[in-house]
Symmetry: C2
Subunit: 283 residues, 2 copies
């Protein structure tokens, strides 16, 4: 693969527990040695590599005692490009190995349970790459900004989330948490495009402006959530996302790095190869 990363995103984009979102340049391309053109090349090369790694993860799950899975959590303000990540990064991988779920506003039934109940129901199985488009973090983001629950409850949820993710890690799930970070102006331009193009109308909702008008509250909620839940084993990555090409290649790299960290290899045969060859020949 092309040597396009001077500093790996696992290092350069990793959020510290005192991260300041306003101090991050949303139009920057940290660590990447190249422009949009190189970004597209790196994305294509990475797609093949990612696809191979995914197949090994899947194969690993078939071996006795396989427990490994990956969970990519995508959080962002509207228009920041979650959909593009799914289409262009996750889309390069065999659909059989992907468990994608988009979380909407909780239903009555979901609200009747603990906030992690619906999340647990959608966790990736062994061998799978789970992708959450929104997640349990909504319960400390919109829930905080809109005061859907008490401040006390929000406080407790940060700790519950840390505990929950520790549990996932212990069970074999590598958690990658990504915030796609765009600027207020970039969001305006993207919403304007949706209002110009009839093939984009369906992506627009008047409530997008209501949320936009709470921008600084959301930024504060994100910052607090990231600070409170960034851990050694389940770190947050704040990905500058004004440049879509950068966000895609960076998230792809984060997933590749996570999979490489699992030291995957093709599982050995759990049958006698010679015996099976004989059986097949006789058939």
């Amino acid at each position: 693969m092309a040597k396009t990363w001077k500093i790996e995103p696992t290092e350069s984009l990793r959020a510290t527990t005192d991260v300041s979102l306003r101090d991050i340049d949303t139009s920057a391309t940290p660590g990447f040695d190249g422009d949009k053109k190189y970004g597209a090349q790196a994305l294509a090369a990475g797609a093949e590599h990612l696809s191979e790694l995914q197949e090994k993860l899947f194969a690993d799950s078939r071996a006795a005692g396989g427990t490994k899975s990956v969970l990519l959590v995508l959080q962002a303000m509207d228009t920041a490009g979650k959909g593009g990540i799914v289409r262009h990064v996750v889309g390069a991988v065999d659909p059989q190995g992907i468990a994608h779920h988009a979380f909407k506003a909780p239903t009555e039934e979901e609200l009747a349970h603990d906030f992690l109940w619906r999340i647990r129901n959608e966790l990736p199985g062994v061998g799978m790459i789970g992708v959450f488009d929104r997640s349990h973090y909504e319960d400390v983001l919109v829930a905080r900004v809109r005061s859907l629950v008490s401040a006390d409850t929000i406080e407790k949820r940060y700790d519950q989330i840390v505990e929950f993710e520790r549990e996932l890690e212990a069970a074999g799930t590598t958690v990658i948490k990504v915030m796609l970070h765009i600027s207020y102006d970039e969001q305006k331009a993207r919403l304007a495009e949706r209002l110009e193009r009839p093939d984009k109308f369906w992506k627009y909702n008047p409530s997008d402006i209501d949320e936009r008008n709470l921008w600084s509250d959301y930024q504060e909620a994100y910052e607090t959530a990231i600070r409170r839940t960034s851990t050694e084993t389940a770190p947050w990555f704040v990905v500058p996302a004004d440049r879509k090409w950068y966000a895609r290649v960076a998230v792809q790299r984060l997933v590749i790095n996570a999979l490489e960290g699992l030291d995957l290899d093709w599982p050995p045969a759990d049958f006698d190869v010679a015996t099976e060859k004989t059986r097949l020949a006789a058939s």
Copy 2:
């Protein structure tokens, strides 16, 4: 798109209620005007077209009263290429619009319910393309060959399936049923390859030979199932699959045709565009 189909697969591969599987040449390429090279080109061109159609299906589901979805049912003997269809045909589409499910041997809980219970639980939502790797047809295939239930029960299931699929159609789901049809010899070659390559061992299971040894029973069970459940609205397509490239481009075309038949278009704005532009400008 390239003019590669002389006769559409919707016509040439559609199974009649007196279909004879042994009379179908599994290495043929019916209706396709070209060889493997053209097949690859058609697949690439079709991928873009399919991707656009899928986005329109998804968009349509956001409009008031949207009910449309598609369900691709894949059935085949081992090694026939279900996985390749998912990877190379379905994989070209945005993962957000795909609901893929691989059905395994039923669990205790599933067996405690009607055979369609677990199927209903995995039906695609509105706007989605569902993909079933195996399906309710296993309940008249392996169930018949292995005598897992009585002959009477199997008989009833054919009618229950026809009724169930009629229900799906009425609810807005276009059902496409595909049998990937390979020869006994081709299966042998593909199993042999899995036994030669350590990166393929994980795909091999000694029970594959047990099933292979019941080949003619399975062919008969497939033939009966197809005859009994091919209907006007939920027809079976028997896709010759000894040539992987042909099977892929043919199934892709079947899905494209189904989506084109839905007359999809971008839904109109359900908000006042001018008002929203003003709100955005003021934000």
